[in-house]
Symmetry: C2
């Protein structure tokens, strides 16, 4: 019998209760184990909820859960960063396994929490923190035993992918699609964590640290979001028989690593081009298994709850991989060496700008009120220097890598 202390009864927490209610008999029947939600931490125990709470024991005091000796697993889905760090630490220190869907806390305290769980011989699992419902972190950890993984790539944010898909498919402008996405619940009122790429960056931090077996922190990752893309870019990208995706990628070479989140223009025949709307996909390459790619719902109540519960089941059955999955490789940050071919559109044009970009231009796509060019193979840092030299702010241009 696994007794769960659930922290949070928002969207994902509600989904967890729903799936357990639906599947409890099946789980008991096939696995011989029983999973019960014993107590739930909420801010307000009297709030009206979209779920029947009569059978549920709600509390607004974490200590009630921590001190309940029958509770052997804490499931953290509050989404808050610092309080969840305190909850997780306290839970591990008092001998309880931990499952979380919270990428912010995993990203910030990855090394510390992994080491603590390992020291206490407890599970610390976070499948739902990357790729929503997609089972990817468990397969990744498992492949690490048989493979050297040198590359990980992904479309990790459903909001950005939803916006970009509708812009490209329907030729719409950014602001228009963002508004639709907000109305439909795909984007939040303040969309910056998604559209500026911070959410994607945290997920890459987790993926890259596991895949490359080195501590690749949020600060180690170059970041550019999608918020400056406009209808001109959409038109140009469509003409290139391509689409655009916010791609996170990290690579290991003999000399070190690179890690970056950036808009990428991918040909329609590229695998990632058909990962559309709110779906996510993660790819990695092992020296034995070759390329593997995983695709599924990047967010949503039931997919995320499903991922959380797959971790809980692994604890109930003892079928998770024990030990600290983080590696100890000491790699040098080589982001300064990142290079490629790029697409650049600048919203203001004048002779100085035309003059400065001419030297790096492979092809001019548009020269009018806006300037759009394809840039020949170049170090990304050089483009950034040039843009800074021209005094251009982030909102006044859109830069995207052209995928190989």
């Amino acid at each position: 019998m696994l007794n769960v202390g659930l922290l949070g009864l928002g969207t994902v927490g509600t989904g967890i209760v729903e799936i357990i209610n639906e599947r409890r008999n099946t789980i008991t029947g096939t696995s011989g184990t029983d999973i019960r939600i014993k107590k739930i931490l909420v801010r307000n125990v009297n709030k009206t909820r979209n779920i029947d709470t009569e059978q549920l024991e709600l509390t607004d005091n974490f200590e009630d859960i921590l001190n309940d000796q029958e509770i052997n697993v804490i499931v953290e889905v509050t989404g808050d960063l610092e309080s969840s760090y305190r909850y997780i630490t306290a839970a591990l220190n008092s001998g309880k396994h931990v499952v979380t869907a919270n990428k912010a806390v995993v990203s910030k305290y990855f090394g510390e929490l992994s080491a603590l769980a390992n020291e206490k011989n407890l599970a610390f699992l976070y499948e739902a923190s990357v790729g929503g419902g997609i089972p990817v972190l468990k397969p990744l950890k498992e492949q690490l035993e048989l493979n050297e993984i040198t590359e990980v790539q992904g479309i990790l944010n459903g909001t950005c992918n939803y916006i970009l898909t509708r812009m490209i498919n329907e030729g719409k402008d950014y602001g228009e699609v963002l508004k639709i996405a907000q109305e439909l619940g795909y984007a939040e009122a303040d969309p910056s964590a998604d559209v500026e790429g911070h959410d994607t960056l945290r997920k890459l931090r987790i993926l890259a640290t596991l895949a490359l077996q080195a501590d690749i922190t949020e600060e180690d990752i170059l970041l550019d979001g999608i918020s400056s893309i406009n209808a001109t870019d959409v038109e140009n990208i469509r003409k290139m028989d391509s689409t655009v995706k916010l791609i996170a990628e990290a690579r290991k070479t003999d000399k070190g690593f690179t890690a970056i989140v950036q808009p990428m223009i991918v040909k329609n025949s590229n695998y990632f081009a058909n990962v559309n709307m709110a779906f996510n996909s993660i790819a990695f390459k092992g020296n034995n298994v070759g390329e593997l790619k995983f695709y599924g719902a990047g967010a949503g109540k039931l997919p995320t709850a499903n991922a959380v519960l797959s971790d809980v089941l692994d604890i109930a059955l003892g079928t998770y991989r024990k030990g600290n999955p983080l590696g100890k490789e000491d790699l040098v940050n080589l982001n300064e060496s990142i290079s490629g071919q790029y697409y650049l559109r600048i919203s203001v044009t004048n002779d100085e700008i035309r003059d400065k970009v001419e030297g790096i231009t492979r092809e001019v796509l548009l020269d009018g009120e806006e300037l759009a060019i394809l840039i020949e193979e170049i170090r990304l840092a050089e483009i950034h220097e040039l843009l800074a030299g021209l005094g251009l702010s982030k909102g006044s241009y859109f830069l995207a890598k052209i995928a190989d």
Copy 2:
């Protein structure tokens, strides 16, 4: 310590030895378990091999392995059907876990071997039998605990996919590409098991039986291969902004199930359109997790060996799901009800043929030496009746479903 008795030292067997030699220290270091290949069954112990066999104990007598009390896992990669059935049964009966890459034996004896392993409280694992290197059967089994799965689909044969990709991309004829595929080792001298779809059918038998939790045998699956496709079809399909794939799919409804392997014409914007060359992909849908898709190398020495070893590691660490994964749903075969829109090209034309197909034609694509039409929504069985009535043999027409 896990002592492996390896049955077969062909391509996959050699890959297993190579990966263990490469990763043994890492595996021991991270998992605390040691994996050793103790004995290998081969036909000829004196044959010269592409691998250093000095450290390996070869035998041509299965009893040597069966009676070795130190060997606790049998890894079967001979590829032979009936002898491997005897080996697997004997191994389970004498208390040894079994891992196999052999889809023929899993497909034919799925229920019997699963039950025997369960009765003996042993592992019977076969990740490599479907999708080559792709970790898909383990995630599928795990998702079954939390989900009702009603649909599974896949590109399951690398040879067919390689041939179809090159035909579409390069506008080449079937015979020409088959010859190239044979020269490059992607197709065998006798390619019929692949191009006629038998290999795909066996893999669907395994996938569908797991996913739908019902015994869906080889005989339950409708089958059509790719060998009658020609350059005319390629031209027509390209004009439809589409490509063609050999797709296996099984579905469960309230009333029963359908299961079919057939060529499908998919729009270039469809996910499966970008699964190219020898790659495979498997998709399934759960009521909670939603759509999941897995992509990777469908065959090859190291990817397949990697999948076999991931099963071996799960046994070493005790992290596989115990119990019999097969379900007991009693579903009615509804293949007669399968319907859709279809593409049909007939190589011989005459007035009788023109007359008979007219009634089901939505659009005529070509009417000359060959006849090519799009067929309006219809039951597949009706098309088969019509073709049989015209006395047309399988080689004289190409029929493909047009994906929704």
